[in-house]
């Protein structure tokens, strides 16, 4: 027993629990960022963010006094100049409908794309959340350290939150901020805040429900292949079944994508924005007004109570699965 242990001693005070949770999340995100598919997803997501900024910039520059639209219309003649002035006047008179409506539609489109991208990204992430830890007995490594199952949950939740932040919230906020930095007036900020708040609320609901489901699915099986199949099944197959209009409502509620879509319609209110534009704006073309009303009806929601209940059940079931399986075997 002559072995000499030439070691540095670690006698510092251990860092906080928050640091340890962040360590878990950080590793998951680092591993995710090393995959090519996720980097591609990020490029698409951030391009969408830049498109929001570009749209806001073009819109604000186009309609402001002395902006592009007015200058360009003046070159085309008095009629076009008058139309440009009328549009400018509409925005001055109805900023809530024009600015608010535009951002509602932009955020509506972004949330749709970002939700899909998040689900694609989570397809890569889901097996790495709990499945691989269970398969390789790594749960023992975590839980034999100064961490509880709640710490482990929060660490893994951090990975999902990170994914959604990078693919959804980040591009949304960055796009809006960039658009506002370049906006010529305060109206653009004031009237885009409400749609932004609603978009963030939907983002939060999406985060809670998708994160719970991802953790539940990941905890359910012990092989990556089964976890991916289960995730895709719940997303695409159950989602596809829910799209069929003749299926009973309870069956449709079983799809988290269907529930989220309904909640998105209720929270972001694209139908209201379109209908308001059709009914309130003194549009020159009656057909355009009618079309706006029709489009509004098409994206109308059936209320949020049912979908919220559906998502609630999914969250509870997923959490139950997660905590039940979170025992080293």
């Amino acid at each position: 027993m002559e072995t000499t242990l030439d070691l540095s001693r670690w006698r510092e005070r251990p860092r906080s629990v928050a640091y340890r949770r962040w360590t878990i999340a950080q590793l998951g995100l680092r591993q995710l960022l090393s995959t090519r598919l996720f980097r591609l997803v990020l490029i698409v997501a951030w391009t969408a963010g830049l498109l929001i900024a570009a749209s806001a910039f073009v819109f604000s520059q186009a309609v402001s006094t002395g902006g592009w639209l007015e200058t360009y219309a003046a070159q085309l003649g008095p009629r076009f100049s008058a139309i440009a002035s009328a549009i400018g006047a509409l925005i001055l008179l109805y900023p809530d409908i024009c600015v608010g409506g535009l951002f509602t539609l932009l955020f509506w489109a972004q949330s749709s794309l970002a939700l899909t991208l998040s689900l694609v990204a989570l397809t890569i992430v889901v097996p790495g959340l709990v499945t691989r830890d269970r398969a390789s007995e790594a749960l023992t490594v975590y839980l034999s350290r100064p961490l509880t199952s709640v710490d482990y949950l929060l660490g893994k939740l951090g990975i999902v939150a990170g994914v959604l932040l990078l693919t959804w919230t980040g591009p949304l906020l960055a796009g809006w901020l960039l658009g506002m930095v370049l906006a010529p007036g305060r109206d653009f900020i004031v009237y885009s805040l409400e749609p932004l708040g609603r978009a963030l609320l939907f983002n939060g609901i999406g985060l809670v429900s998708i994160a719970s489901l991802a953790l539940g699915v990941s905890a359910l099986t012990r092989t990556s292949r089964n976890t991916i199949l289960l995730w895709l099944g719940l997303w695409l197959i159950v989602g596809g079944i829910a799209q069929a209009p003749n299926n009973p409502e309870w069956l449709r509620r079983a799809s988290f994508t269907y529930d989220l879509d309904q909640i998105r319609k209720t929270i972001l209110k694209p139908a209201d924005a379109l209908r308001k534009a059709g009914s309130s704006l003194p549009l020159l073309d009656r057909n355009l007004a009618r079309n706006l009303q029709t489009m509004g009806n098409a994206v109308d929601s059936g209320g949020a109570a049912g979908p919220l209940l559906g998502l609630g059940v999914i969250v509870v079931l997923s959490s139950a699965v997660f905590f039940r399986r979170l025992r080293p075997e």
Partner: protein
């Protein structure tokens, strides 16, 4: 002449007196009187009782945890680490209650489980450093300690390879490294030498044996290899049927044991046996040609004197061979007959 020759050839090994790290000095951190204290600890799995009123107070040191398969050793360790919730009773690890100070009770504790456990996709050094961070180390400190510990457990350049590609022996080494990376005061090792080649096993055993003596890190080692336990531990706990049936220091156990000496004479085995029998000692001839002698004496001095007086040829003498093994079997037999509380 005979005695001189004997001294040249004889190899005397004594249980717990030379190899066991007695006289070790715990580090200042190891200030608690007992590293493990349990009171009527019970764990039921349905109708099956895996731990039955385990009441123990274990002082710092290197402790061997012995017991047959299914005795409750792993359950006991898991309960202390809160990987299993005890059904009844209380437990303290390093003076901290495992229930009321859940996280804190594991801050200075390391664990190397019997089964493979690793985080896939990580190189060995990243994995060990990550485990250090999970215990609250800063990245820099964890990285430094990870490399030092990996050097210590004998991992070379393979530390930069993914853990998934490791052999059983390498996984065993990296498992030990993750248990030690955060400089624990107490480390639980479940079958730490499984899957190691003889050289690796020797290296790891030496390392484990040095932990308490040099670093003050107490070790609870669960193993089926009684020789390993006998060699490196200064205390042993035997568990059977979920109950603690023995808890003693190796020294105390050795003194309780029958004085058995195994002799391997260089020649004249028959004369050897005759002289020993004539001296009133019980002698048994073993199949390998060795003689097994039972004596009431604590030392082998009497035996040496007898050999010198009768001009016997030199012999290898092993005192108390398989002492722990015999004690282990006896304790199990007693437990099965209900002789233990």
């Amino acid at each position: 002449m005979g005695l001189v020759l004997f001294c040249n050839f004889a190899t005397v090994r004594r249980v717990s007196s030379e190899n066991a790290p007695t006289g070790s000095t715990p580090s200042p951190l190891n200030s608690t009187k007992f590293i493990i204290e349990t009171h009527q600890l019970c764990k039921d799995f349905g109708p099956q009782r895996a731990l039955d009123n385990v009441t123990l107070q274990i002082p710092p040191g290197t402790i061997g945890l012995l017991g047959p398969n299914g005795a409750g050793k792993s359950t006991f360790i898991k309960c202390l680490l809160n990987l299993e919730n005890p059904t009844h009773g209380t437990a303290k690890v390093l003076g901290r209650s495992i229930v009321s100070e859940n996280r804190a009770s594991r801050e200075r504790v390391g664990y190397s489980p019997e089964r493979d456990c690793h985080i896939g996709g990580l190189p060995g050094c990243d994995y060990v450093a990550y485990c250090g961070q999970l215990s609250g180390m800063s990245f820099r400190a964890a990285r430094q300690r990870a490399h030092e510990i990996l050097d210590l457990v004998g991992m070379g350049q393979e530390r930069y390879r993914s853990v998934d590609s490791y052999s059983t022996g390498m996984k065993q080494r990296v498992k030990l490294a993750q248990a030690l990376v955060h400089d624990p005061e107490l480390v639980f090792l479940d079958e730490p030498t499984n899957g190691l080649d003889p050289l690796g096993r020797e290296h790891i055993l030496r390392l484990i044996g040095s932990l308490h003596r040099e670093l003050g890190t107490s070790v609870v080692i669960s193993s089926h290899l009684l020789r390993d336990i006998e060699r490196i531990c200064d205390r042993v706990v035997i568990i059977a049927l979920g109950r603690v049936i023995e808890h003693e220091s190796m020294e105390a156990l050795a003194s309780r044991h029958r004085r058995i000496v195994e002799l391997a004479p260089a020649s004249e085995t028959e004369r050897f046996a005759g002289v020993l029998r004539a001296a009133g000692l019980a002698v048994e001839r073993l199949s390998n040609g060795h003689l097994r002698v039972e004596s009431g004496d604590h030392s082998v001095e009497g035996l040496l004197r007898l050999m010198a007086e009768n001009n016997l040829p030199p012999a290898e003498i092993v005192a108390n061979p398989n002492a722990l093994h015999e004690l282990f079997l006896k304790s199990l037999a007693d437990a099965n007959h209900g002789n233990h509380p």
